[in-house]
């Protein structure tokens, strides 16, 4: 840890440890990953705000269909740019130690494309389109409509054609795969 001591003081590390789900070691690792995104800029100024395009070079985000949403949600500026603390925040939420409630909360915001605090049919369509990817074997429109109907039938408890957070949370709490899939290993 010798040379990393110069990056963070012990007190800072302790603060970060308290504020995230990480241990000190992991925080340092996180910093390394952040530094790898833009070595020059970061080494000059630790708190530099990296543009979204740079953040998206993170391998996990590169292929993630929701990458832009993730950046936006975690960016403290709201425009997808990220500081180290935003980055740490993100990694912390995606870590193993983060509880379901926190993960659910962020998942909701990621899937809420129009940011109206409700997942609408349009949001769902967008989610599905991104999930199915640009491949050739896309589902046809009717299938997608049917899927959306099915999802709504399962999740929309008050039948208003919107998924409120509570409904989303309920559905996620029943999803066995959510915790294992909504995760980025450090």
């Amino acid at each position: 840890m010798g040379q990393q001591e110069s990056v963070f003081t012990e007190e800072e590390l302790e603060d970060y440890q308290e504020l995230t789900f990480f241990l000190k070691k992991e925080i340092l690792h996180c910093y390394k990953r952040f530094e790898m995104l833009a070595p020059e800029a970061v080494s000059k100024n630790r708190n530099v705000r990296l543009p979204m395009a740079t953040v998206l070079t993170l391998p996990e985000l590169q292929v993630n269909p929701f990458r832009d949403r993730i950046c936006k949600v975690f960016s403290s500026a709201g425009d997808g740019t990220m500081t180290f603390e935003d980055f740490l925040d993100m990694m912390s939420v995606f870590s193993d130690a983060a509880p379901r409630s926190v993960k659910t909360e962020y998942a909701f915001r990621i899937y809420d494309f129009d940011e109206d605090d409700m997942i609408s049919v349009e949001d769902l369509r967008e989610v599905l389109n991104r999930l199915l990817g640009p491949g050739k074997k896309k589902l046809n429109e009717e299938d997608i409509e049917e899927l959306i109907d099915n999802v709504m039938a399962e999740a929309d408890l008050d039948e208003d054609h919107f998924l409120a957070y509570a409904e989303f949370e309920h559905v996620i709490s029943k999803s066995p795969d959510f915790l294992s899939s909504f995760r980025i290993r450090l």
Binding site: L23, A77, T83, N150, E154, D160, E169, I172, K174, S180
Partner: protein
């Protein structure tokens, strides 16, 4: 305090439509009015929410204006501008900063865009609430029960409709509590309570809320309790946060009563993230001025406005108090998940207070203790995390193959640690004592004598002296004595001569009690050693062969049971005794128990998931859509594959639904046909399983027969390894046959995979069962003429080995080695070759590259773990070997996965597989326990080897130990092991099982009923809201 009087009033104030009155009424105490109105955003929100049905509860606009003037109306639903209006107000925003010194130099408070988003704001406010509720300088803002209950009810009503109280405040632990409180009250009593309350409440202008009473009651009844459980608390919390905030801004901290710790019991928060911390820091003015200036990214104008620090007129002590409180708040909020929040809070409280005023004596000591504890806990966590080996390779695999494949590697790692634990136990209690402690020498026989004499199990021995042959066999012919004397000459033939000369009476099994064993065992041990040494060879090929088989030079080593002595050991120069046989037995018991506990622990972790999986059929689409993407994936190709696999899966499910719809329309003829086919296939599978078992039995018998003959070199090795080769071969071929067969059965895709798996599991377990059977057959062959050391050969070629425990140990050792070699061979020869052929030759494109089959690999692991469990008793070093094997296997499998395999087309769900792994492991565990328990409790151990050579069954050392206990304890043990205890126990367990299964089905039924009810109530609610808005509109018309 005055505001308590308003409680009842305020709870309904906003429910009636006459806000103006309330407003004017509230002027008598502006602080409290403000506090109450803080709950109002909930109402307001419904107006703003985008709801197609449209009914919303409009409030008279003049009232709203009035409220806005009161500057505490927070409308969360509105875009940020409005939030800014209120909290951007310099009055409030800067005030906290005036109160506090700049915070500590923490860099993460530099975020400048904090007020942009209402969501964050609400979160921050909540966190603020936590801290406020927990703050030591704040009054107890807990409401009277009635008041809060009503408030909750109210919030339930609104909570269903608005998106404002987007429950960021999601504490699962506490949510249901309140919910249940509410549910516990019968709805009628709730309603009457409501009414009573209303009558108590005096409206200032007599404009009562009765007009809306009907609607209100109906609404209250129609509240859903299901997914909105956090809302009541949210509202509650929100309100108290506001009051706390008011306390702050009003600058009357010195009047604040004692800390309101009680109020935070139900306000623990989950750990949130740094962003929230920043928010709080902002709220509290903890923002460091200097930091901000140094931060180039900060918006200059905002920086200016925020850094106007005017610490006017505050006394020093107060200021420090506030500072410490604020600092505490922000750290507590995020720390709450470690321990119970209140405890943590108290600790921190003390810590911080002590920082402010140096505490003396006990408090200081306590403080140090707490600090040390925390430090220790953190160090422990660091330590645990350092055990987290292979995180990097795991990540790479995950990035390439997704979570399903990684679950195999996690399982492998778990097994490795399990075996490491077992090995540690074995080394500590078996190996080290055996190596380090000297056996009791002269005293041994005496002790033996004593314990035996005191024991009620055995007839008293006539005489126990040091043996001479004439003592042992007084009626032996003379020539035998000379051979006995000669036994130092290590002549195996002579030894067998002796045994054949022994009187036939001694050959009968029943005559051999432990004292006879005592007499015989030295002789038999000698005999055994001679025999083994006879087989020793120094030729290099034979050495290698022996290494593969565990025979020859390996037989009498620590590796096998036979080498261990039956002596009680002397602990380093003391008179204390280490009862080695007992230790051997108890260690076995201990590691099986430990394995069981660990497995149960691992499974219970997954139980929730298992239950969810069974329930997730109801939410399969949501599961796929919202949890479909693996966020770990970082490889482009894998991502493409994931896309297509999700597409395929979704398609599959849609097709499945269609199929189910079709299924109900199947004709009787079709049904009959399908069922016939299924029956036939199942029979065929059964036949195949039996066939496999038979082949295995034949092969293992063959190998045992042939191994008696003098085969040299390669052939001998092949013969020795034949059973394990057969097992591996069968497990390669048969599952593919199962896979082909299942296609005729017309099951659903999901079920197809499942049933193939179950059949494969049966195959694996059956092969282990057959193996055990063949061992048993070998060591207890009937019609064998046994010599005094209980070895012999019958006419059918069944040969009972001299030391059957070592023999079994050897077999298992061979199987373990073979299993490993096969894995290596498969990886580096078969799979690598396949890869090269497929990549370099177009002709083989059809075969395609290998996919990593998680389930069959897991079955391999379970198989080798079973071998390890079975073998550890007979070969104590086997867990160590297994650890090494697993360690290498990890890298081999990593190689396979990364080099040979392409990501799988069939999606593996990590959740599904984890429980499956454990179930199979449990099954195999039981499969190990049964034969091992049988062999310990029933089968008589060999005379010439092992720690139990002087006991007629292996369990006796424990009985012996129990005999030395006080009589009361003995009788208790006797009772616990008697049928008188076991039968009632069994019956009670059965009853409990029945009870719980009945309860489960009742719960399931209840869940369905509640769900239906929920849907109904949702409809009711919409209908009622439509009515409500109608009424409101009419009212508006009347007033205008």
């Amino acid at each position: 305090m005055a505001y308590r009087n308003f409680q009842n009033f305020d709870n309904y104030a906003y429910e009636c439509d006459d806000y103006k009155n309330i407003h004017s009424f509230d002027h008598s105490n502006s602080r409290n009015s403000v506090e109450r109105f803080s709950s109002r955003p909930n109402i307001d929100f419904s107006v703003n929410s985008r709801r197609p049905p449209g009914p919303s509860y409009e409030r008279p606009s003049d009232v709203r204006n009035g409220l806005r003037n009161s500057e505490f109306q927070v409308n969360m639903g509105q875009p940020s501008a409005r939030v800014y209006d209120i909290y951007g107000d310099p009055e409030i925003l800067i005030q906290p900063q005036n109160l506090y010194e700049p915070g500590p130099s923490r860099n993460f408070y530099h975020d400048s865009h904090w007020k942009g988003q209402p969501i964050r704001y609400s979160k921050a406010l909540q966190n603020f609430n936590h801290s406020a509720g927990q703050g030591p300088q704040l009054p107890d803002i807990k409401q009277s029960d009635q008041g809060s209950a009503d408030l909750k009810r109210f919030s339930r009503y609104h909570g269903c409709q608005e998106k404002l109280d987007f429950p960021y405040y999601t504490n699962q632990r506490n949510g249901p509590q309140i919910d249940q409180d509410l549910l516990a009250q019968p709805s009628t009593s709730r309603d009457t309570g409501f009414q009573q309350h209303r009558s108590n409440f005096k409206m200032p202008d007599g404009h009562s809320a009765q007009n809306l009473a009907d609607d209100d009651d109906a609404i209250t009844r129609s509240q859903s309790s299901f997914s909105y459980r956090d809302r009541p608390r949210l509202l509650d919390a929100f309100q108290s946060s506001k009051s706390a905030y008011n306390e702050l801004t009003v600058r009357r901290p010195h009047t604040a009563p004692e800390p309101a710790i009680s109020s935070l019991r139900h306000r623990q928060s989950a750990k949130h993230t740094m962003k929230d911390a920043r928010q709080i820091a902002k709220e509290l003015g903890l923002y460091s001025k200097t930091e901000e200036v140094s931060n180039a990214d900060t918006n200059p104008s905002e920086m200016n406005s925020e850094s106007q620090v005017v610490p006017a007129g505050l006394q020093d002590d107060e200021e420090t108090k506030r500072k410490c409180w604020a600092r505490m708040c922000q750290s507590i909020t995020y720390h709450a998940h470690y321990t119970s929040a209140s405890k943590e809070m108290e600790n921190r409280n003390k810590v911080k207070q002590a920082q402010v005023s140096p505490a003396a004596g006990f408090a200081a000591w306590e403080l140090r203790q707490q600090k040390a504890k925390k430090k220790l806990w953190e160090t422990w966590k660091e330590l645990i995390s350092s055990l987290n080996v292979w995180s990097h390779p795991l990540k790479r695999i995950e990035g390439y193959h997704g979570t399903g494949v990684v679950s195999y590697f996690l399982f492998l790692r778990w097994l490795l640690f399990l075996n490491l634990g077992i090995f540690f136990l074995v080394v500590l209690f078996i190996l080290l004592p055996h190596i380090l402690f000297k056996p009791l020498e002269s005293s041994e026989l005496k002790i033996e004598n004593k314990t035996l004499a005191s024991s009620n199990y055995f007839p008293k021995p006539a005489a126990l002296r040091l043996y001479s042959p004439s003592d042992l066999f007084p009626n032996l012919p003379d020539e035998v004595f000379s051979i006995f004397q000669d036994i130092g000459g290590k002549a195996f033939d002579q030894a067998s001569q002796i045994t054949s000369l022994l009187p036939s009476a001694l050959k009968s099994d029943k005559a051999f009690f432990t004292d006879e064993r005592l007499k015989f065992s030295p002789f038999c041990s000698e005999n055994y050693t001679v025999m083994v040494n006879n087989f020793k060879s120094s030729k290099i090929d034979l050495v290698l062969q022996d290494f593969m088989q565990g025979t020859g030079w390996m037989e009498l080593t620590l590796l096998f049971y036979g080498y261990y002595n039956h002596y009680k050991l002397n602990l380093f120069g003391t008179t204390r005794i280490y009862n080695f046989p007992l230790a051997y037995l108890l260690t076995t018991l201990a590691y099986f128990l430990a394995s069981l506990v660990l497995m149960v622990g691992y499974t219970t972790e997954g139980v929730k998931e298992t239950l969810m999986t069974s329930e997730s059929q109801l939410h399969k689409y949501c599961d796929m859509v919202f949890a479909g993407w693996d966020f770990c994936i970082e490889d482009k190709k894998t991502a493409m594959l994931k896309h297509s696999s999700i597409t395929r899966e979704l398609k599959g499910h849609l097709a499945e639904d269609q199929r189910n719809a079709e299924l109900s329309q199947w004709t009787r003829k079709k049904k009959a046909k399908v069922y016939t086919v299924r029956t036939i296939v199942n029979l065929a599978v059964l036949g195949l399983l039996i066939l496999c078992g038979y082949i295995l039995l034949l092969v293992s018998n063959l190998s045992l027969e042939k191994s008696g003959e003098d085969n040299e070199g390669f052939l001998a090795v092949v013969i020795q390894l034949l059973p394990s080769l057969t097992i591996t071969g069968l497990s390669l071929v048969v599952p593919t046959m199962f896979g082909k067969m299942v296609t005729f059965e017309e099951y659903s895709k999901d079920f197809e995979i499942k049933i193939t798996l179950i059949r494969t599991v049966f195959l694996r377990l059956a092969s282990i069962g057959i193996l055990i059977y063949s061992f048993h057959h070998q060591i207890s062959c009937s019609g064998v003429s046994l010599d005094s050391c209980k070895q012999g050969i019958n006419s059918l070629g069944c040969k009972k080995p001299m030391c059957w425990e070592t023999y079994i140990g050897q077999q298992l050792y061979k199987l373990v080695l073979m299993d490993f070699l096969v894995a290596v061979f498969k990886t580096f020869v078969v799979e690598l070759a396949r890869k090269f052929i497929v990549t370099h030759c177009t002709c083989a494109k059809k075969i395609g590259r290998q996919e990593f089959d998680v389930t069959s690999n897991v079955l391999d692991l379970v198989y080798s773990q079973t071998l390890c469990w079975l073998g550890t008793f007979y070969s104590p070093l086997l867990p160590g070997i297994t650890v090494i094997k697993y360690f290498i296997l990890f890298y081999i499998k990593q190689f396979t996965v990364m080099v040979n395999c392409v990501p799988s087309q069939i999606p593996y769900r990590a959740s599904r597989s984890n429980t499956f792994f454990m179930i199979v492991l449990m099954l195999s565990f039981v499969l190990c326990i049964i034969p091992l328990g049988y062999s310990i409790a029933e089968v008589s151990p060999s005379f010439g080897c092992g720690p139990f050579r002087i006991y007629s069954i292996m369990w006796l050392p424990v009985k012996e130990m129990i005999r030395t206990w006080p009589t009361t304890l003995q009788s208790i043990v006797d009772f616990l092991t008697s049928a008188g205890f076991a039968v009632p126990c069994f019956i009670i367990l059965c009853l409990a099982l029945y009870y719980y299964s009945a309860q489960t089905s009742a719960h399931k039924h209840m869940a369905n009923v509640l769900k239906d009810q929920l849907i109904d109530e949702g409809r009711d609610k919409q209908f009622l809201l439509a009515r409500l808005s109608e009424v409101a509109k009419q009212r508006e018309l009347i007033t205008t």
